[in-house]
């Protein structure tokens, strides 16, 4: 996926070749948005909750260094081993190091978007280790050798028949199986064996509590717990921004997280890990990987408030009609578009433009990140840093020239209308992207300005 990266417009065009499939993808995610709405509307104090969560996260960002020190202190006292990783490569080396030290060759993983960001699986496999993803959706994309397309619903882009085909090839179900019940049961049996035989389990972290040195992992499947409680070594990977100050703040975040993500009141399991099991090793790897740089960008640091609920993706009309893979990044959708340019402005210059700035995302965000305003601001930065298309640059300078002078503007406008009326094929052709699937507007006889001059006596 990383080699010759195509851009969002190119990938979306490919995605849109199958219109029926786009409708299916769009309707599925819109349905989840509607479930979110229903759930939010059942909580009269919903907007107050959002504001509270936003303020808590604002405080966290303003004092993150102290909170991290406090978290580390408490975690160490709890018997957890704390590691710090400046970047993805260091994170991967640390995880590998822990496994090597314990003579472990095989690991079971539960969902962690951070490890996707770090390409951990790839790294460990290159070192000769075996990693199995235990979230059903993650396991499916792992078998398909694809990255997840959505941070909460990793294989939302896959149809059940396609999943059945994968399971037929890799897990031995009869060809043509597509019943979700049967496929899930198959995964249950297959992964149960994995849980029982893996001495190491890696989980993500939804929230890390500075006050107590504990961390919380939320799942519906129970796979994070199955892995962690059966393994000798539990490794938890977290981004620095996962901190929340006090245990009681979990009340706010756990009420918002799953309702925003899928419309459920809470995940089946919200597990609080504070100390290792007697005889077990518990490690936490605290990762920067560009987050401290984002923290220094005044216009964009609020993106670090994100609790990875995915609500912005479900509501985004562009995401629903282009799919997560079109963003060619571990985190896709609106939040991905404001996080990624910080990591590599050249590679991700297209993402902030993959939006109409409709603003829906900002209004479903449980922590009130001003996503659509950040998208606008990233556009200014990307152009200033020189990553804009050169033809666009010339076009824009021409537009500026035309629109800064009333005389030039009126002449250009009149000329444009004349061409449209008398030489339509100059505009209605394959070089005009508008014209591909839309008719051009008709050219009126006179502009408003001309009508006004003629008809209004002043």
């Amino acid at each position: 996926m990383d080699g010759a990266t195509q851009t969002h417009p190119e990938l979306s065009e490919i995605f849109n070749k199958d219109e029926e499939r786009v409708d299916w993808h769009d309707e599925t995610l819109w349905w989840i948005r509607q479930k979110r709405d229903k759930s939010a509307h059942s909580i009269p104090e919903w907007e107050q909750l959002r504001e509270t969560a936003s303020q808590i996260k604002n405080n966290v960002l303003s004092d993150l260094s102290s909170y991290l020190v406090s978290f580390e202190e408490k975690a160490l006292a709890n018997g957890i081993v704390v590691h710090w990783a400046a970047d993805a490569a260091e994170h991967n080396r640390i995880v590998h190091g822990i496994l090597k030290e314990n003579g472990i060759q095989q690991m079971v993983k539960s969902k962690s978007m951070l490890t996707e960001e770090c390409h951990l699986n790839e790294y460990l496999e290159q070192q000769g280790l075996d990693v199995i993803d235990s979230d059903l959706g993650e396991r499916i994309v792992q078998l398909a050798k694809e990255p997840p397309s959505h941070i909460v619903l990793p294989c939302i882009h896959k149809k059940k028949e396609e999943i059945g085909d994968l399971f037929h090839i890799h897990l031995g179900v009869p060809a043509g199986t597509s019943d979700p019940q049967i496929l899930t049961e198959t995964a249950r049996q297959h992964l149960r064996e994995t849980f029982l035989t893996r001495r190491a389990a890696l989980t993500g972290v939804n929230f890390a509590i500075a006050e107590t040195g504990e961390f919380v992992v939320c799942t519906n499947e129970g796979n994070a717990d199955m892995g962690a409680h059966l393994a000798d070594v539990h490794i938890a990977s977290m981004g620095i921004e996962k901190i929340i100050p006090e245990r009681r703040h979990l009340g706010v975040f756990l009420r918002l997280l799953t309702r925003s993500a899928t419309g459920q009141p809470i995940t089946t399991y919200s597990s609080h890990f504070k100390k290792p099991r007697p005889g077990q090793q518990m490690h936490i790897v605290i990762v920067d990987n560009g987050r401290t740089i984002q923290m220094g960008r005044e216009d964009f640091r609020n993106s670090l408030k994100c609790i990875r609920c995915g609500a912005c993706m479900n509501t985004c009309p562009v995401y629903r009609r282009s799919g997560g893979h079109s963003y060619h990044n571990a985190i896709s959708g609106p939040i991905g578009a404001i996080l990624a340019p910080n990591l590599d402005m050249k590679k991700y210059a297209d993402l902030p433009f993959a939006s109409t700035l409709c603003g829906s995302c900002s209004n479903v965000c449980p922590v009130k990140i001003d996503i659509h305003q950040q998208l606008y601001k990233w556009r200014q930065v990307i152009v200033k840093e020189g990553y804009a298309d050169s033809t666009k640059k010339i076009g824009m300078q021409l537009m500026t020239f035309t629109l800064s002078s009333p005389v030039v503007y009126r002449t250009a406008g009149k000329a444009g209308r004349w061409f449209l009326k008398h030489v339509p094929f100059a505009v209605n052709n394959k070089f005009n992207p508008w014209y591909k699937q839309r008719d051009m507007p008709e050219a009126p006889a006179e502009s408003f300005g001309e009508w006004y001059k003629k008809n209004v006596k002043k």
């Binding site: 979306s12 009269p44 209004n363 152009v383 200033k384 824009m396 537009m399 500026t400 629109l403 209004v456």
Partner: protein
């Protein structure tokens, strides 16, 4: 009260009727309205494409044309929002600030300033109302479905004063049409798909006309309607509110 009329560039060039209806409607309501002939554009196409730094001359031209008025009214939610959020000038920041506080989109001007209660308008047709995003989420013309908050709608309030008009329900009340400025050509495939889906929603519910406060959205949907050989027409809300 002197009102300066700000007509978006594409309305001026391609949809003058929306501008004419706006002018006539304001005159009907007794407003002293002038169209400064030296105006061009608000600069939004450049700014939204990342070229905000090129809009200085555009901004100053806007200030020159409009600073003198008590109110500035425009039949465009997105242009109004752009000026409100982004009009600045090194040479005349005071005037820029003044303008940002007195610029209104047409619907909000009619409802909040003129407090229009009876339009004496007639338009006996089935009409679909498109909630243009910038007007809705930026100017709060209509409550957004994302929020847990009481419903209100200024355009609907005005349309309810139009005799014979039947407002159709929609499956998705406030989904974006996909125009998005240069997005419409930079991300052509997704833009068109979004437009097609919006149009389908209106057609499925029996709209004869699709209206809204932004001609850009309507232009995009019209392009799709015409390509589909549909008899459904688009009309700026000013044209309906001005209809007799």
């Amino acid at each position: 009260m002197r009102v300066g009329l700000f007509i978006p560039c594409y309305v001026d060039q391609f949809y003058p009727n929306a501008g004419i209806a706006t002018y006539q409607l304001l005159r009907k309501l007794g407003v002293d309205v002038t169209y400064p002939t030296g105006q061009t554009c608000c600069g939004q196409p450049m700014a939204n494409s990342g070229f905000e730094h090129l809009t200085k001359d555009c901004n100053n031209l806007f200030i020159d044309n409009f600073a003198e008025f008590d109110y500035i009214v425009s039949p465009s939610g997105s242009c109004t929002l752009h000026i409100k959020d982004h009009l600045h000038s090194e040479e005349a920041e005071d005037k820029a600030t003044g303008i940002r506080h007195k610029i209104y989109e047409l619907v909000e001007f009619l409802v909040d300033i003129l407090k229009v209660k009876d339009l004496h308008a007639r338009f006996p047709h089935k009409v679909g109302l498109h909630q243009s995003c910038h007007g809705q989420r930026g100017l709060f013309l209509t409550q957004m479905t994302e929020l847990v908050a009481p419903y209100f709608s200024k355009p609907q309030q005005l349309l309810s004063q139009v005799e014979g008009l039947e407002l159709i329900a929609l499956s998705r009340e406030d989904e974006c049409c996909g125009f998005g400025g240069t997005f419409c050509v930079v991300e052509e495939a997704v833009s068109v798909k979004m437009g097609k889906d919006r149009v389908k929603d209106h057609l499925t519910h029996g709209a004869e006309y699709i209206t809204g406060a932004d001609m850009s959205c309507l232009m995009h949907m019209e392009g799709i309607l015409k390509r589909e050989n549909s008899g459904v027409k688009v009309l700026h809300i000013a044209e309906i509110l001005n209809a007799e």
